[in-house]
Structure formats: C-alpha cells, structure tokens
Amino acid sequence: MIEVEHLSKTYGSTPAITDVTFNVEQGEILGLLGPNGAGKTTTMRILAGYLPATSGTARIAGFDVHKNSLAVRQRIGYLPETPPLYPEMTVLSFLNFVARIKGVSAGDRTNKVQAAIERCNLQDKHHVIIRKLSKGYRQRVGIAQAIVHDPPAIILDEPTVGLDPRQIIEVRNLIKSLAGSHTIIISTHILPEVSMVCSRVAIINSGKVVAMNTPENLRTQLTGGSGYELEIEGDAALAKQVLSQLPGVSLVESVPTPGMHEYSPLQENRTFLRVISQPGTELGGEIAAALMRAGFSLQQMRRVSATLEDVFLQLTTEEKNLEIDTQTAETKEEGAA
C-alpha cells in the first residue's frame, strides 16, 4: 500500500533522512519511532506530498507521491505535528470544509463528517469554536480532519501528543479500530505506544532506519533471549570467567551501579553481574549451579527482560554492542500498559 524506496532528503547540505526504505501492507499500522530530529516528520511530509524528496521514490496505492501528487492527496489523510485548524471556525464547519476540499461528494458529506465526529468523540463539542477547545480536543479535531474523507492511507504525526492519559487510550483505540480497512503510519517517541498500537515498528535514528520488525520480534531479536541479574560474593573477574564458559551464555557484564539494590557495608565484597543468554535458552539453573561449583555465594538472582525502551536506547545511542542497557526495566512496559 505504501512503498518507500531509498528515500533521501537534504536541507541545504544537512541530510534529514538518508536512504529510507520500508513497506506498509494494506491494513497495517506502522510506527515510526525515533528521537526528536530523527527525520520522522520529514518522512511523513514527503509521504503526504508536502515536501519533495531529494532522491528516491515513495508510492501510495501505486501512485508516486511527487509525480502524481493530486492522486495521492486524494487517498491520504494527514495530521501534521501541529494540527492544522482554523481557530475561528466551529468543529462542524471546519470538518465540512475539509470534507469539501478532500473531494467528498455533497451527498456523502453529512454522513462522513458525522462519522468522523463520532469516531473522535466530539459529539458534545461540534458547535464549539475551535479556539475555545482544549489542546486535547484540538488534537482530536486534527485526527478527525485526517479521517473525515475515509482515506485508504492515514499518516499521523505524533497523534497522542498533548492528550491526557484517558484521551491517549481513546486515541490509541481509535487508531487500532481504523486498522484493517485503512493503512496507517504513526510517528511517536512514546515507546509503549508502539508496542500497544503498531503491528510493525521502524526505528529511525539520524535519518536512517536502524531496525524494522514487529515490536515483539524487535525485542527478542536485538536483546537475545532472557537475561539475569546476579548479586554474588567473591571475585568479579573470576565469576565472569566461570559464567562466560557456560554453553548458551552470550554475554556477561558487570553492572556498574547497583541500581535499585540497597547498598550496605555487608555488601562490601559483592559484585553485580548481568548475564544474557542466547534466544530460546533458559539458563537460570545452570548459572546457579556453576556459581556454586566455583564456590561463589549467590545472594540474589532475578530475571530481567529487555523492553522496547532498551532496544530503542541501544539503537539510538551510539553503543556498538547489543547489550541490555544499564536500566533494568523488567516490568516497566507492562506497568505502563
């Protein structure tokens, strides 16, 4: 449905995006994830036909976004970073206007505007002047204008920014309900949002796609299997050696700061280690046994699993190795859900 091939864009001599390639299948929700300034907005603007690319092609529903701009514009709904609203208009007249310029026929207009109002929960605000709406409602009007003409492809640039938690959940549900019949690209820097809403994620950093997969696969693919955090008494170097000789262990590292652990004088001689095993292996028992055999006393052991946040930080900070970041965020993501 949406095909992006080797897309590049430079502003003057500064590259905004370089060689971005991805595909979005019909009915999918793709999340563009990246830190600020990574090139998410640029990519979306090119797709919406607002900016021309320096090189490369992008097609929506088979039409080139630049050469067949009008055909593409008929088939997309686009919510820019700041919702494009006329503050002096009422919600209803604004949506009617948008429906008109998007080419919705006169007979269809009332129904489609009404449907968009209902989908975005704007029923009790539709006669209010946009200037008087709160930021959350404005954002919803922005989403409503992107879907009012029922376009096959929807591009939403940070759709949940400025919403309160309840509205965020509503908007996410709204986006999920649009999938299937619509193809959607959303950009966000909120990590849990991606795993909740998107069927696939493209992580963008400094204008390049650094990873692309389903949220689950990304986690496992990039962090290996499960990991354990250990607190042991004894020589750290020796313990590392012992552990790294175990079959299935891909990485052993010391944790520089004890993090959430209480630090007491009793722990003078203690070391904190993190062990990461290869995908599909469960090494808890082996690790414990190996440590016992070597004469270490194991004070604490717990499983850590990488969150998307860890993946994101790894990919976007310039770390070469694929180790779990210093934060142990085992249930953070579930907690946010």
């Binding site: 603007r45 900016l51 006329y86 310029i101 080419g103």
Partner: protein, 269 residues
Amino acid sequence: MHVVLSNIIAIYRRELQSYFVSPLAYVIAGVFWFISGLFLVMILLGPDGILAYATAKDLEAQQYGVSLPPIDFSYEFVRAFLDSMGSLLLFMLPILSMGLYAEERKRGTLELLATSPVTNWAVAVGKLLGVLTFFITMLVPLLGFEAIALSGSSPPMPLTIPLLGHFALILLAAAILSLGMFISSLTDSTILSAVLTFAVILLLVFIDVIAKNISGPFGTALGYLSLLKHYNILIQGIIDTSSLILFASYIFLGIFLTAQSINALRFQR
C-alpha cells in the same frame, strides 16, 4: 473542471466565513466607512468642495458678465469621489490582503491545503474572490451615500459613468489584493506582509511620476504600468481596453505568482 470549481467555492466560502467572525474585518470596514463618508462630505460641502467651487464660478460669471461653459456637477462629484477612494484603497487594502497566506502559514493550515487534492491555483483564486467579495460588501453603503448625493442632480446623472467608475474601483482593488496576496504568501508575518505590500503598491501607483523623468521608450513603457493612471482614465468614463487589460494582467500575475510561491515554498524547506 467541476472539481476545481467546487474546490474554489470551498476555499471562497471558508474565506468569507472568516471575515464574518474576524474583529479586524469589522474594524477595517468601520474605518473605511467613516473615512469615505468624511471624503464625501468634504468633496461636496467642504471649503474646497465642489459646491463652493461652483458658487465661486457662478459669482465670477455674474461679475464679468460672461457665460462660462456649464460645469457637469454630478460628473465632477463622482470623479472626485472615486479618485479619493482610489487613494484610500492604497492604505486599506494591504491590511485586507496581509493575512491571506501569512496567517495560513503561521497556523500551519497551509500544510492542510497543500496536502489536500486542491491545486495552488484554486486556493489562490478562491482566496482572492473571497477577499474581493468582502471589499465589494464594504462598498455597498457608499452606494447609498452617492445615491443620496446624486438624487438631487438635474438633469439626472446617466448611470454609465458611476457604474464604470465603481467597476474600475473594484478592478483596482482586485489588482492590489492580488499582488498583496502574493506578498502575503512570501512570509508568515502579517505585519511584514502589509508593509511590503504597501511599499509595492506605492511604487506601482507613482511609477508614472518616475516614468516621466525617464525619457525614451523605457519611460513610456514604465508609464503604462501605473495603476492609478489607468484607474483615473476609467473613472473619467473612458472605456480604455488597454487599462482593462492592465488590471486583468495585474490580477492574473498576482494569482500566478502566488501559486508559484506556494509551490516553491515546498521545495525550499
């Protein structure tokens, strides 16, 4: 074609709607009515007004016992009034045109228009028609003033001359607004847009003064570009095709440049 037309109408309607709720539009209309009313009174009744002038002429004729050619009182009035309106427009219109695109740029709604299946042309034409309609609405009360002033004229004033004069006024406004719209599309500051428009209009108005100081064909050519010169020809009641073409060219040029500038805007960024 049908789609383009319906797009133009959509833009036009939105533009008009926004004037009805804009305090700025009401203030401009109010000031315009006040000043134009003042002009009307001054032209008719002021110390240098037409009435005083005619009385002086009459006295003169009686004194010397010669019969001077009669003055076409109503014609002089319409011409002088429209002439003053022309100068007033130079100050009012930049304020009307300043926000046409600058506001859209500032509010980010240009991104909506540019990603909708609407051509830049249709947007520019719709906007120009919208602001022109607002301007014509502003003229309506003036017709009342003039009707009162002319109702006393005897023999009755033929309608052709005031009609042509008002048509010329609208043409002049359309030309200025069209150029103002283009300038508005260059910036997202409304103030800057108004100041620049004012400067450009001033240049186009007084270009014949400059032209007179340049000899040769270049000077003559420059003289043809003057807006006010052609306006003055038309309000005298002379239908001059070259004047009509000049105004049409300015209007078209403004729309063309606007469409191009919006296009270029997307390429620069």
